[in-house]
Structure formats: structure tokens, C-alpha cells
């Protein structure tokens, strides 16, 4: 089947029932989305389909009807997305495993609500688990990104 990943059209020979996460990781070799739970309970696998955040671990690849964007498609080391830059400025990650998913959720939040309140952040980010407890810095980074994106 054909699927667009980060702007590239890819031909993947997969069972349509396979969750998008495993099609990305084990077949397409796109490793940014992480496996955490397999039941949409932790958010580590968050990607965009046509800009909307989805938990790729429960989304059958055969049902993907739009373009897939992963953390790799968001920005690169020499051209970071403002949210990624805010994450560095606030020194958010510890182990880092959940952070691709956290960043994707934050980008989706800011696309919808450019100046989120604490409550907006709670609502948008509570599906993303972090076992290192980086939440206070994530909150600060979301606000910093909102400011920098507002200025841009």
C-alpha cells in the first residue's frame, strides 16, 4: 500500500491490520514515534495524520487516509520547529523517550490554541505520560513556544 510519510510517498508491503506505529518503525524505518503501551494510554507514539494528532499504536495502517507526519518531519537539527527549540531552551527531556510524543501533542495544541492557558495545556497534554516527571518544564516550554510563535 501507498502512504505518505513526512512528504515522501512510500510503498509498504504490510498487513493493513498492522498498527501504523509498527509499519513506521519496523517496515518504513521511521523510528521517532516510540512504542510505550500499545493501547493509546501513553502518547509516546503520537504522529499527525493530515495535521491531526493520533496514537499510531492503535491506528491500523490500512485506515490511514492522509499524510503522516512524525517528529522527523517536524524539524531537523539545523532547522528546528519552534516547539523543539523551546524544549531545548527549557532543557525539558530527561530520558527523552516520551518527548517525541510530547512535542507532537504540543504542536497540535498550539495549532489549535496559539496562547493556551494552564487548563488548555492540562487538557491537551494529559494523554502523554512521562515517567521522568518533566511536566513542569514541558508546561514552561509550551508557553515559551507560544510566545516565540506569536512573535514570528
Amino acid at each position: 500500500m501507498q502512504i505518505t510519510i513526512n512528504g515522501n510517498v512510500r510503498e509498504l508491503d504490510v498487513d493493513p491490520e498492522m498498527p501504523l506505529l509498527w509499519a513506521l518503525r519496523d517496515v518504513a524505518g521511521v523510528l521517532g514515534p516510540k512504542f510505550g503501551c500499545g493501547i493509546a494510554a501513553c502518547g509516546a507514539c503520537t504522529v499527525f495524520i493530515d495535521g491531526q494528532p493520533v496514537r499510531s499504536c492503535v491506528m491500523p495502517v490500512g485506515q490511514v487516509s492522509g499524510a503522516v507526519t512524525t517528529i522527523e518531519g517536524l524539524g531537523e537539527p539545523d532547522a528546528l520547529h519552534p516547539v523543539q527549540q523551546a524544549w531545548i531552551d527549557e532543557q525539558v527531556p530527561q530520558c527523552g523517550y516520551c518527548q517525541a510524543g510530547q512535542i507532537m501533542s504540543a504542536v497540535a495544541l498550539l495549532a489549535e490554541i496559539p496562547n493556551p492557558t494552564d487548563e488548555d495545556i492540562d487538557k491537551a497534554m494529559s494523554g502523554n505520560l512521562c515517567r521522568c516527571g518533566t511536566y513542569p518544564r514541558i508546561r514552561a516550554a509550551v508557553k515559551r513556544a507560544a510566545r516565540s510563535m506569536g512573535e514570528a
Binding site: 498487513d15 498492522m18 498498527p19 509498527w22 518503525r25 519496523d26 517496515v27 524505518g29 523510528l31 521517532g32 514515534p33 516510540k34 512504542f35 510505550g36 503501551c37 500499545g38 493501547i39 494510554a41 501513553c42 509516546a44 512524525t70 517528529i71 522527523e72 524539524g75 531537523e76 537539527p77 528546528l80 523543539q84 524544549w87 531545548i88 532543557q91 525539558v92 527531556p93 530527561q94 530520558c95 527523552g96 523517550y97 516520551c98 518527548q99 517525541a100 512535542i103 495545556i121 492540562d122 487538557k123 497534554m125 494529559s126 502523554n128 505520560l129 512521562c130 515517567r131 521522568c132 516527571g133 518533566t134 511536566y135 513542569p136 518544564r137 514541558i138 508546561r139
Partner: protein
């Protein structure tokens, strides 16, 4: 037996375990260094096991500790960069190879049966001796919050030695005395003649200069990097989704796999049919597994999803559990053990029995507490990648004890350790779980069946949650006698729990008998800086047969809850403010008083709060960190909300305050997560919980505000990674008591209250 007698016996037993371990360990004479495991690439010079410099001016620092989020790769590199006179950004940081040369002596020095504040000659002698054992054993480990303490001198000396060798080579090249050459930013300059050379230009010559044995180190007043918050070296990878974790390992021609091990821990299948599993499209092979961690099956497949589906499709009946099959019976065994008595007193001050013999009933406080088994629940599920080809075994694993893991895998593969390489990856959380080797052993066994192809073996979250080894459950029975001033004159604590040390040693070295009492069972309770005339803390070993392990802050993770909640009960019974009670009992330990005063000041302790809000306090000394925390809770229509946490931590020396602050917050959230709602329970010999829906952790909307103060008054350097955790649960429970009048003595607190 006298205390010294007991200690000497324990020290010898540790030594015996090392000898029994035989080939597990590096052979090392105390004075002779291990062979340098680094090999120079073309155009590159190796100065010591920690520093490589290329002719192209590239500088590589080996930070041989597990980076699981705690920031050690950054601070270890900063220690080297400080003495090497380069900026941190100029250095490439690598974990480096698995090697005995990267032993961790610091992790063992605080395993001795002396409290951290005990600086007697005997205590210091035993610490030094056990440190030597650490060096002899050559165990490369990340644990005990010991990385920075262990590396503080060693890493700086590695940087200083390299700088001195570079300077000597530059002096020869320029024909001037070495003491006329200065160094900064990777450039060596002879000011007088205004000539300079880069490190890269002299690196190859410098590596053959004699390495100084004991290079002098810079005074703290001259530090450029240390003591200041650095930009972490791993940030860019972690915000761009770089494939740095074990689960991301990819090799040409690689297969994928998973395991389905007996849900009755340690048991084996009694009947099985793998036909359906083998028929799952993409499955290559189903392999029976029989290991020291238990029996079950591995699946090799073309992708992880196929492996997961096939593992599910194995039709199997499991053998019986070798331990009591449900949580009620397990808890009753802990009660029975308390009833039986006869524990090992790790602390026994004054005259406990005499103190209670004539105590009027109204001056005695008695209570029983418990805490549950816990899973580590690292974000990255357990995994490892292995390839067995041409008589060699290659492993890639996120693991905290690589020399031990390599040895165990070499054993199951029947391949000599010299033919086994183990590359340690970044890890998505560790918390003690990755001190184990099960995930690497399973990958090794699957690689044996994969015809030379590498296999990336990933566990499902369900397997990760259910198989432990777990933080032990414990039950404590405590009594105190109050004096006329409301302060305790006697405190007696019995703690019954399975031994972490025995369980851990048994998994790796099943033939080593473990008969001595385990200090871990009472850590966080026996070693606290309080002076009470009669004060006894006893460990009652309860061998339940359930595999248990180190879990962030180990013994203190639960015993901090026991000790500090009971102290809160004593304060309430005696009508003494909990902060004031601690100040008075801690008067002999100014560092402890310092953090309690600080947290009281920061949190506005004693100020009137609005209705429906309350504060609780707790203190724990663990891993050399003196930490006091105040938690403020609020009663809301949705349940109890944790509004704010104030933490004051004294670690003697904070090499990177930004990382220290992050670790304190991290430790508190880890502890609050467990206190609020986590428990592992058993039914029919199997773990009931399976994934984040029933073993969850704190989420963004529950996360309180934080205020952290880092103090540096302690005369000795402390650890950081685990110290925020122990006071978190008791400070929360004490706050809930202040709010509701309800004394919660069993974790998790969600058994009694609802959290917003």
C-alpha cells in the same frame, strides 16, 4: 556479636560473592589499573579510558554510565572538560565499551552498614575497603545515585592527565619549558613567543608522554563549568526523535522478536501448543525459553507486531507459582513474620525493652503500616538486540550493569566473554529495572536460533508490567513512647519484607548462599539523623519467593513513608508541630536542620491556610542527600489535588544545579505517582495489573507546582538521582492527615482517598 564483628563478616561475604562469581569479574590488583579498553582509530590518540583526541581536534569523552535521563553523560563530560580546558560543547560524549575499567566503586561505598553521617574511623575504613572490592570486582554499574560521587575525582583526573600530556608534547615541539605553556579552548599557547598549537596538532605525540599518576586538580574557585548549569549534551537527539534507544537498534538483515514468559513468576509451561502462533504471517520461529528468570517462549518474526500476535496465540498452561498465589495471603505472611519477631536490629540505641516495660498506655503510640509491590514502568519497555554469528555474540542493550549482563549472556550462549561485545544504548528510563539482565538473556537465546541474523527483542507493556522483579512489599509495626514534653523517648520499628539483595544475587549467582540480614530492608528508617534515647529499627526477612529488585531509592522508597508518617503520628500525639519535632530530634545534625528550616521558610510553614487546604512535611536522608519536602493539598469537588511541593535538598556540592533541580522534581513525581495509585497485586499467582490503564502514573493535569532549593552545607557530597523520591509519599500522606484528620497507613493512598 559485636558490631565490628558483624561488619567484618559481611564484608567478607561480599568478598566471597566476588570470588564465587569468578569469571564475572575483572581480575585486578588494587594498585594496577585495568587495561585501557579504548582503541585508537586512525589519526586519533587515546590518553586514558576516558579521553580520546583526534588530529582533527575532535575530542571524545567516555561517560561510561547508563544515561537514563538523569543527566550523567553531561556532568561526567563536564568534569573532564573542566580540567581539559575545553568547552562542553567542544566535546563529543560516548558511553564507550563495556569494560571492567569502568568499575563503580562509589556505588559500593554506601552499601556498608554505617549511616551516611557516621564518620568514625571504623566506618571510613569499611567504606574504603568495600570501595576496593568494587574496583577488584570491576562491576560497571549505574546505581546507588553514585555516578557523580564515583566520577568526581576520577573524571577530573582523566582530563587533567590528558592536559598535562598535551602540554608536555607542546613544550617539546616548541622547545620551551612546559610551565610556560598555557591552555584554553583546546589551544596550547606559549605566551612569551606568541606561538600556539591546537590539541589535535600535538595529540598523537602527547599520547606517548608519560601519564601522570596523580595529576593536581583545579581549585573550585577556578571552575568554569562545574557548579553552573550546562546545556545537556543529549537534548538535540531527544527533541528530534533520534534513534538512540535500545528499541531503536537496527542492523542489516535484522529480525524482530518478543517473549511470552510465565505469568506465574519463575514457573514453566506444563502443556503448550504453538501451532497457531507459528501460523501467524511473518513468524519465523517460536522458541521455548528456560532461564533463571523463569520459563516461557520467545518468538522471532519479520516485525514486532507479528511477534506480539504470535506470542498471544501460544496456547499454554503454566505451572503453579512457587509463592503464595494471592495478595491477601502474601500480606498475611508479612503479618505472620512480624508476629514471629526476632529481626536483625540495624540500629539499637538505649534500652528499648526497658523503655516500654513501664510505659503508661496513654504515652504509647502504636501503629501498623504497609506498602505494596511496585513495577518500575520505564517508558521504554524492556528490550535488547543480539546477534550470534561466527562464534561471537554481539549485544546492544539499554542496561545499567553491562559487565554483569555481558557475563550472564556469555554463560547462556556458551561463548567466552572475550567473544561477547555489549554496546550500551541510551535508555528510556531505568529506575533500577535495567540493573537486571533478563531482557538481554532472552535476546541472546533468540539470537541463538536466528541463523546469524540479529534479533531486536521487545517486550509488550503487559510483559513489562507483569514480570517484575518488583519493588518489595513490606509491612511495618511501630511503637513509640512519648516523654512529658511530647517528644519521643523511645521508637521501635519492625519492618518485614523480602530481601532485595538475596533476590538479585540469586538471579545472577544462584549458587551463592545469602544468609546475612539485608540492610536494604530497613534503609531509609534505620539510618536517619534523629537522636532518640531509645531507638531500634529491625529488619525481619520475609522470603516470599517473589522476585524483587531495586526501585528508585530502593529501601528508602517505602521506609521513608514508614518512618516519616510514624513520626508525624508521634508529633500529633505529643502535640508538637511536625517541623519543630524534627528540628529538636535532629539538633545533632546541622545539615538536616538546615534543610528542614529551609523548606519551612520556603513553604511558609505555620502560616494560616484557607479552608480546605493543608500541608504535610517529611524528611529523608538517602544516598547522601538530605531532603525535606512539604506538600500542599487542597480538597476539591473532584478529589484531593496536590497543589504545590517545596523541596530543600543538601547534597554538599551541586555540580550542575539545573540537572540537580530536574532530578529532585523527577524523584518527587516518581514518588507521588506511586503513593497516589500504584500497586502490583497477585491473583492466581499472576500479576493483576498489565498496562498504564491500571498501573498509571501522575499526569500533566495532576502535576503540582514546584519550588526547589539546593543547599551545599553537607561536608560530604551526596547523590541526586534517587533522593527526591523517599520523602514524597510521607509528605503527601501527612498533608492528607492535616487536611482530613484521616491517618493513611497503607500505600497506595488511592485505597482510601480519591485524587483529582
Amino acid at each position: 556479636m559485636s558490631r565490628l564483628g558483624t561488619i567484618t563478616r559481611r564484608t567478607l561475604l561480599v568478598g566471597a560473592a566476588v570470588v564465587a562469581g569468578g569469571a564475572a569479574f575483572g581480575y585486578y590488583s588494587y594498585r594496577r589499573p585495568y587495561e585501557n579498553p579504548l582503541e585508537a582509530d586512525e589519526g586519533e590518540a587515546v590518553f586514558n579510558p576516558f579521553v580520546k583526541i583526534g588530529a582533527d581536534n575532535s575530542i571524545t569523552v567516555i561517560a561510561p554510565r547508563a544515561e537514563m535521563g538523569q543527566g550523567v553523560s553531561t556532568t561526567l563530560a563536564a568534569l573532564v572538560a573542566e580540567e581539559l580546558d575545553v568547552e562542553l560543547g567542544a566535546v563529543r560524549v560516548e558511553h564507550g565499551p563495556t569494560s571492567w575499567a569502568y568499575y563503580n566503586a562509589g556505588a559500593m561505598e554506601e552499601s556498608v552498614p554505617f549511616a551516611f553521617y557516621n564518620d568514625s574511623a571504623v566506618a571510613q575504613f569499611v567504606r574504603d575497603s568495600i570501595g576496593v572490592v568494587g574496583r577488584i570486582a570491576g562491576v560497571q554499574s549505574t546505581g546507588g545515585s553514585a555516578t557523580i560521587r564515583d566520577g568526581y575525582v576520577r573524571m577530573r583526573k582523566a582530563g587533567a592527565a590528558a592536559r598535562i600530556m598535551l602540554t608536555a608534547a607542546a613544550a617539546k615541539r616548541l622547545g620551551v619549558p612546559a610551565d610556560e605553556i598555557g591552555s584554553a579552548n583546546g589551544i596550547l599557547t606559549h605566551e612569551v613567543s606568541r606561538r600556539s598549537l591546537t590539541y589535535g596538532e600535538v595529540a598523537l605525540d602527547a599520547a606517548s608522554e608519560e601519564a601522570p599518576d596523580d595529576p593536581p586538580l583545579r581549585d573550585r574557585s577556578q571552575w568554569r563549568l562545574l557548579g553552573k548549569s550546562q546545556k545537556r549534551v543529549d537534548m538535540m537527539d531527544k527533541v528530534t526523535g533520534a534513534p538512540i534507544f535500545g528499541i531503536d537498534m537496527r542492523q542489516p538483515d535484522m529480525l524482530f522478536g518478543t517473549v511470552r514468559m510465565s505469568p506465574r513468576l519463575g514457573a514453566k509451561p506444563v502443556r503448550s501448543d504453538v501451532t497457531k502462533a507459528e501460523a501467524v504471517p511473518g513468524v519465523v520461529k517460536v522458541v521455548p525459553l528456560d532461564t533463571s528468570y523463569g520459563g516461557g517462549f520467545g518468538v522471532i518474526a519479520e516485525n514486532s507486531w507479528a511477534a506480539f500476535r504470535a506470542a498471544d496465540a501460544i496456547d499454554v498452561e503454566w505451572g503453579d507459582a512457587s509463592y503464595p498465589s494471592d495478595s491477601e495471603t502474601i500480606d498475611r505472611m508479612l503479618r505472620d513474620r512480624l508476629d514471629e519477631g526476632g529481626g536483625s536490629a540495624f540500629r539499637d540505641d538505649g534500652d528499648i525493652e526497658g523503655s516500654f516495660a513501664d510505659a503508661p498506655a496513654d504515652q504509647v503510640v502504636a501503629a501498623e503500616y504497609s506498602y505494596p509491590f511496585l513495577a518500575h514502568a520505564c517508558m521504554e519497555p524492556m528490550n535488547a538486540t543480539a546477534r550470534r554469528k561466527d562464534g561471537k555474540l554481539e549485544l546492544w542493550a539499554p542496561c545499567q550493569m553491562p559487565t554483569i549482563t555481558r557475563w550472564l549472556c556469555s554463560g547462556v550462549a556458551g561463548i567466552d566473554q572475550t567473544d561477547v561485545t555489549l554496546t550500551v544504548t541510551s535508555m528510556g528510563g531505568g529506575f533500577g529495572r535495567r540493573l537486571e539482565s533478563d531482557f538481554a538473556i532472552y535476546a541472546t537465546l533468540l539470537a541463538m536460533e536466528a541463523d546469524g541474523r540479529p534479533v531486536n527483542v521487545t517486550w509488550t507493556r503487559e510483559a513489562d508490567t507483569r514480570h517484575g522483579p518488583f519493588r518489595p512489599a513490606a509491612r511495618g509495626r511501630f511503637r513509640a513512647r512519648l516523654g512529658d514534653d511530647g517528644l519521643p523517648v523511645a521508637v521501635d520499628m519492625d519492618i518485614a519484607a523480602p530481601s532485595v539483595t538475596r533476590s538479585f544475587v540469586h538471579r545472577g549467582l544462584p549458587w551463592v548462599p545469602m544468609v546475612m540480614p539485608d540492610k536494604i530492608t530497613v534503609d531509609g528508617a534505620w539510618d536517619q539523623p534523629y537522636t532518640i534515647p531509645s531507638y531500634r529499627v529491625s529488619a525481619l526477612d520475609a522470603d516470599l519467593g517473589i522476585p524483587v529488585a531495586s526501585w528508585r531509592s530502593v529501601g528508602a522508597s517505602g521506609n521513608g513513608f514508614f518512618h516519616e508518617c510514624f513520626l508525624d503520628e508521634i508529633a500529633a500525639a505529643g502535640g508538637v508541630d511536625p517541623i519543630e519535632l524534627r528540628r529538636r530530634l535532629m539538633a545533632d545534625y546541622p545539615t538536616a536542620v538546615g534543610v528542614v528550616d529551609k523548606v519551612a521558610e520556603m513553604s511558609g510553614w505555620g502560616e494560616q491556610l484557607p479552608m480546605g487546604k493543608a500541608k504535610g512535611v517529611a524528611f529523608t536522608l538517602a544516598f547522601g542527600g538530605w531532603v525535606a519536602e512539604v506538600v500542599q493539598v487542597a480538597d476539591t469537588p473532584d478529589g484531593i489535588r496536590i497543589e504545590k511541593v517545596w523541596a530543600a535538598a543538601d547534597i554538599g556540592l551541586a555540580l550542575d544545579p539545573g540537572i540537580v533541580e530536574a532530578q529532585i522534581v523527577s524523584g518527587v513525581i516518581y514518588g507521588l505517582s506511586a503513593a497516589m495509585g500504584q500497586e502490583i497485586t497477585f491473583a492466581d499467582g499472576m500479576v493483576v495489573q498489565s498496562n498504564f490503564h491500571d498501573f498509571d502514573a501522575m499526569r500533566m493535569h495532576q502535576c503540582p507546582e514546584f519550588e526547589v532549593a539546593i543547599l551545599e552545607n553537607s561536608p560530604k557530597m551526596g547523590g541526586v538521582g534517587e533522593i527526591g523520591t523517599p520523602p514524597a509519599a510521607p509528605a503527601l500522606a501527612n498533608a492528607i492527615f492535616a487536611l482530613t484528620g484521616k491517618r493513611l497507613r497503607d500505600l497506595p493512598l488511592s485505597r482510601e482517598v480519591k485524587f483529582a
